[in-house]
């Protein structure tokens, strides 16, 4: 299209114009037909003359940078007029004339964008556009060039353009509210006459009448109902719960039992198992393990705590330093102890803190005879002392005569047996007063009761005395109960004691016999005679003195059932025993039953109801030794058997001869006591020395003390330490002998009182308190506390003491052997001496014999020499012959 225009223009121009131009035009046309140029652009060529004329010379006035030139329209018209068809502007004559403005823009087209070197802008608008934007464009281009170098782009501010209405004005006009007409004005005023007139105001409630108010209640407008399309809801799941209850059926209880037995194999099965290979393999494989372990145990005790074992021994030495016997209490009775001495002490076996003391007159035999009438009036007593009351004795036991020794029955502490000066055996029963003893021990809570008894010490009379004819004929010096495990039959054979009560006791006196007594009434057979007598006796004597009936059957008729006499060995006569000691044999029952406790038994009836069993029923016991040691007046220790043998010749019952006797002491033996730890160790004490013996060792005592200057009056083993014993002396001191420390002298000596010690007894109140009761000749009873060192034994003490005794025994044996050897040597010596004496009888004969013998020897020697040389090959045959 565009190309058409210039063509039309050119055609137009061709019609009326120059041929040169036509050449130019087609080329221009050709040139112009190819580029697209708008209508308002007319490319044309300007000759140099024209250029000079208009001052637009190419490359001189108009350059690339400044290609625009405004030409006046008048000038162009003038040019056209002057040069008519030669003028370059002739083709566009009409256009120029039509141009409304005065100036036309001529642009130097250096690049021939529109086909020619110049083009003319034909419209005003285009001119404006080109100039301004081009100017701007130039500016901008320049700026852009500049800015391109700087690499910054300045945002283009939008150019304001004139408003172009698109129809929005109408909408606005419609919406806007404008006054369509002028506002109307009204003025209202009431009638004049009403103004100023009085007015009456009144109240009116709004609710009165319907005209008071107008209600506009809200109502639900259906047109506005909103349907809920979406709703938030929370849901929780919960388990289904159901309440339920149940009850068990009540059934009545019923006893059920079941019995089981452990499974066992029958013998065949056992055999089968024992034969199996499996078992053999098992045993052989397991054997080594066992042997190792078994031997390990013997090599060393893995669980033995050496540290504790060690310190125990040391503690004994470095522990408490007190070694002296501390005086704990002393008892002296003012009423009864005047001019009396204590002959025997015995602790109450069950009630701790109660001790019984036998008081006797402190007179010699002659004095006794002189004062015999007086003595009859002053009865002697056994006093019971309690630690809580040091002034008043708790109980008094009346004795028929001075009691030299007494003992509590081991199975029943309420029965006390004592031996008197006149040879009688006395029995007491204090069961009625036991509560008193126990009460006061506990501190005497019943004060009201005590008020009556405080001043008066109850006196208990003896309940049985032995018959005088059959008892001892000398004062009884020792009395001992037989243990409850066995009893003796008529022949002295120990038999089993089913009742487990001590019913028999033994006594000895210097009348050369040891008697055994039985507490039970004699057998029914013999009772027929005595029964009547007893009954007749019982009736008139119905407890005149408040004496219990325990031993009524024995009173005054009591006889010993065994009499053991002690004939001397090797000579006529008998030993006179002073003290004796039985071996304390307790029988172990096979089933392990222990003898029943005696506390609850009523002994009162017990003894009377017991009967001596018949000899057939009794079962002899085998393990009991029937031998006893007897210490005699002459200082001998006699070892004898109490069994009675029947002498076949005369049919009489005779006691056997003592087994052996040892003379060790110089004076009478005043103590024979067994060690509480070793059943076969016996301590004998006489005035100047004491000895320790071992049963079975007949050669001599194991230990014999040196003679002391001070008389030794009594000895007693310690209850807690096997190596310790106490010796009482005449000067009132106590010697403590500790075999572990010294065996030639006492380890300690302590003076207790000024008078001679008459008796010692020990008791252990508790593990921390061991007491030593010492009585002296003045009648005072001293209670001493045994210190810790003497009380506490170390673990191995018993072993050590045992070994010591064994060593001593070996020493004795060695001595014996030495003696024998000595005798043998002596005999040999004598034999030799005898031989020597018989030698010088034949001296001559011997000389001749000697010569003959010498010759013989020489010949023998020569023969021997020959033989040897021959054997050695040194002797030639010729020499041999020549010698022959």
């Amino acid at each position: 299209m565009s190309s058409k225009r210039p063509k039309s223009k050119e055609a137009h121009k061709i019609k009326g114009k120059d041929k040169k131009k036509e050449n130019n035009f087609p080329t221009a046309d050709e040139g112009a037909s190819e580029p697209d140029h708008p209508d308002y652009i007319f490319p044309l060529v300007l000759t140099s003359a024209t250029q000079e004329l208009f001052g637009c010379r190419a490359d001189e006035d108009l350059t690339g940078e400044n290609p625009y030139k405004l030409l006046k329209k008048e000038d162009i018209v003038q040019d056209m007029k002057t040069r008519a068809s030669v003028s370059d502007f002739s083709p566009i004559k009409q256009l120029v004339l039509d141009y409304p403005e005065d100036e036309l823009l001529l642009v130097f087209d250096r690049d021939f964008t529109y086909g020619q070197s110049f083009y003319l802008v034909l419209t005003v608008e285009a001119k404006e556009n080109i100039l301004k934007p081009s100017v701007q464009g130039d500016d901008e281009e320049q700026i852009n060039h500049e800015e391109e170098d700087e690499e910054m782009i300045i945002p283009k501010t939008p150019e304001s353009r004139p408003w172009m209405s698109l129809g929005s004005e109408q909408e606005i006009e419609e919406e806007s509210v404008t006054e369509s007409r002028p506002r109307l004005r009204y003025k209202i005023s009431p009638l004049l006459r009403r103004c100023g007139a009085p007015v009456c105001f009144s109240d009116r409630i709004a609710l009165d009448g319907k005209e008071g108010f107008v209600e506009c209640p809200s109502y639900q407008d259906k047109s506005f109902s909103i349907r809920e399309m979406e709703r938030h809801t929370a849901i929780q799941a919960s388990g289904d719960t159901k309440h339920s209850s149940t009850q068990t059926l009540w059934k009545y209880p019923r006893n059920m039992w079941t019995q089981y037995e452990s499974r066992e194999f029958s013998p065949e099965e056992k055999e089968h198992h024992l034969q199996s290979e499996n078992l053999k393999n098992f045993i052989t494989s397991v054997l080594t393990r066992f042997e190792i372990s078994l031997q390990q145990n013997h090599i060393t005790d893995v669980f033995c705590d050496d540290w504790t074992a060690l310190c125990e021994d040391d503690g004994a030495l470095t522990g408490k330093t007190e070694t002296q016997l501390k005086e704990y209490q002393s008892f002296m009775d003012l009423h009864f102890s005047k001019e009396k001495t204590i002959s025997h002490i015995h602790w109450h076996p069950t009630i701790s803190g109660v001790i019984a003391v036998a008081m006797t007159e402190r007179l010699s035999l002659e004095e006794r005879i002189d004062n015999s009438t007086k003595l009859l009036l002053n009865p002697s007593y056994i006093l019971f002392w309690n630690f809580t009351d040091p002034i008043n004795p708790q109980l008094q036991l009346e004795c028929p005569d001075d009691v030299l020794c007494f003992q509590f029955c081991p199975s029943d502490p309420n029965i006390i047996a004592g031996g008197c000066m006149n040879g009688q055996v006395v029995l007491w029963d204090i069961s009625a007063h036991v509560e008193r003893l126990q009460d006061t021990r506990s501190g005497g809570k019943n004060i009201s009761n005590k008020l009556d008894k405080n001043n008066v010490t109850p006196v208990v009379r003896y309940c049985a005395v032995s018959g005088i004819e059959n008892g001892h004929k000398a004062p009884i010096t020792d009395i001992q109960w037989l243990p409850e495990t066995f009893e003796l039959s008529k022949l002295g054979i120990p038999v089993e004691n089913p009742s487990r009560i001590s019913v028999q006791l033994g006594t000895c006196a210097p009348d050369c016999c040891v008697l055994f007594w039985d507490l039970r009434p004699p057998r029914v057979v013999s009772q027929s005679l005595t029964d009547v007598k007893q009954k007749s006796e019982e009736k008139p004597l119905e407890n005149p003195h408040g004496v219990p009936n325990t031993f009524k059957h024995l009173n005054l008729t009591w006889k010993p059932f065994i009499r053991v006499s002690l004939p001397k060995i090797g000579s006529s006569g008998e030993y006179s025993p002073l003290k004796f000691s039985l071996r304390d044999n307790t029988v172990d029952c096979p089933t392990g039953d222990k003898p029943p406790q005696n506390t609850d038994r009523e002994e009162g009836c017990g003894f009377a109801q017991l009967r001596v069993p018949s000899a057939k029923q009794q079962k002899p016991l085998e393990n009991i030794s029937t031998k006893l040691y007897v210490g005699t007046e002459d200082g001998e220790l006699v070892y004898t058997d109490w069994k009675i043998e029947k002498d076949n010749d005369s049919g009489r019952l005779l006691s056997s001869k003592p087994i052996h006797r040892l003379l060790v002491h110089d004076t009478l033996v005043n103590t024979v006591s067994r060690s509480p730890f070793f059943r076969d160790i016996i301590l004998t004490v006489s005035s100047f020395s004491f000895a320790i013996w071992k049963e079975g060792v007949t050669s001599g005592p194991i230990l014999r003390s040196a003679c002391s200057k001070m008389l030794r009056t009594v000895g007693h083993w310690s209850l807690s330490r096997p190596a310790v014993f106490f010796i009482g002396k005449e000067d009132g001191s106590i010697e403590v002998w500790d075999l572990l420390q010294n065996s030639h002298e006492p380890s300690q000596s302590q003076n207790i009182s000024s008078a001679a010690v008459t008796c010692i007894s020990t008791s252990s109140i508790s593990s921390k308190q061991h007491l030593l009761a010492v009585s002296d000749r003045l009648g005072t009873l001293h209670i001493l506390q045994i210190p810790w060192t003497l009380r506490r034994s170390s673990n191995s003490e018993r072993q050590i003491v045992k070994k010591y005794f064994e060593k001593e025994e070996e020493r004795l044996e060695y001595f014996e052997k030495r003696q024998i050897q000595h005798e043998k040597e002596k005999k040999e010596m004598e034999a030799e001496q005898q031989r020597k004496k018989t030698e010088p009888v034949m001296p001559l004969k011997q000389e001749e014999e000697l010569e003959a013998e010498a010759l013989k020897e020489y010949e023998q020697f020569l023969a021997l020499e020959k033989v040897i040389l021959k054997n050695m090959g040194l002797l030639t045959e010729t020499e041999d012959r020549s010698d022959l």
Binding site: L279, T284, S293
Partner: protein, 96 residues
């Protein structure tokens, strides 16, 4: 049979041995040198102890197994050697 006897004699000849019991795996005694009541008592109690001990050892380490059990008491020592089918109990007083 003779081997078993001989072995028992060997063990018995050690010092301080008080009794020997051979028990089968269920705790029923097969042979014993003690009286019947003691045997049965020992067998039953030891069997239970053995099960517990073996269970404990194997629980701690399943590859492990009990070879020997010694119970030392104040008066004596009881030694138990278990096996698959039997076990042997020896009672010893080691401090004689």
């Amino acid at each position: 049979m003779a081997e078993v006897e001989e072995t028992i004699k060997r063990i018995q000849s050690q010092k301080g041995v008080q009794g020997i019991i051979i028990v089968n795996a269920e705790g029923i005694p097969i042979k014993s040198t003690l009286d019947n009541s003691s045997t049965v008592q020992y067998a039953g109690n030891v069997h239970q102890l053995l099960l517990k001990a073996r269970g404990m050892v194997r629980d701690i380490d399943p590859q492990n197994d009990l070879t020997f059990l010694r119970v030392r008491s104040k008066k004596n020592e009881i030694m138990i050697a278990p096996d698959k089918d039997y076990f042997l109990i020896v009672i010893q007083n080691p401090t004689e």
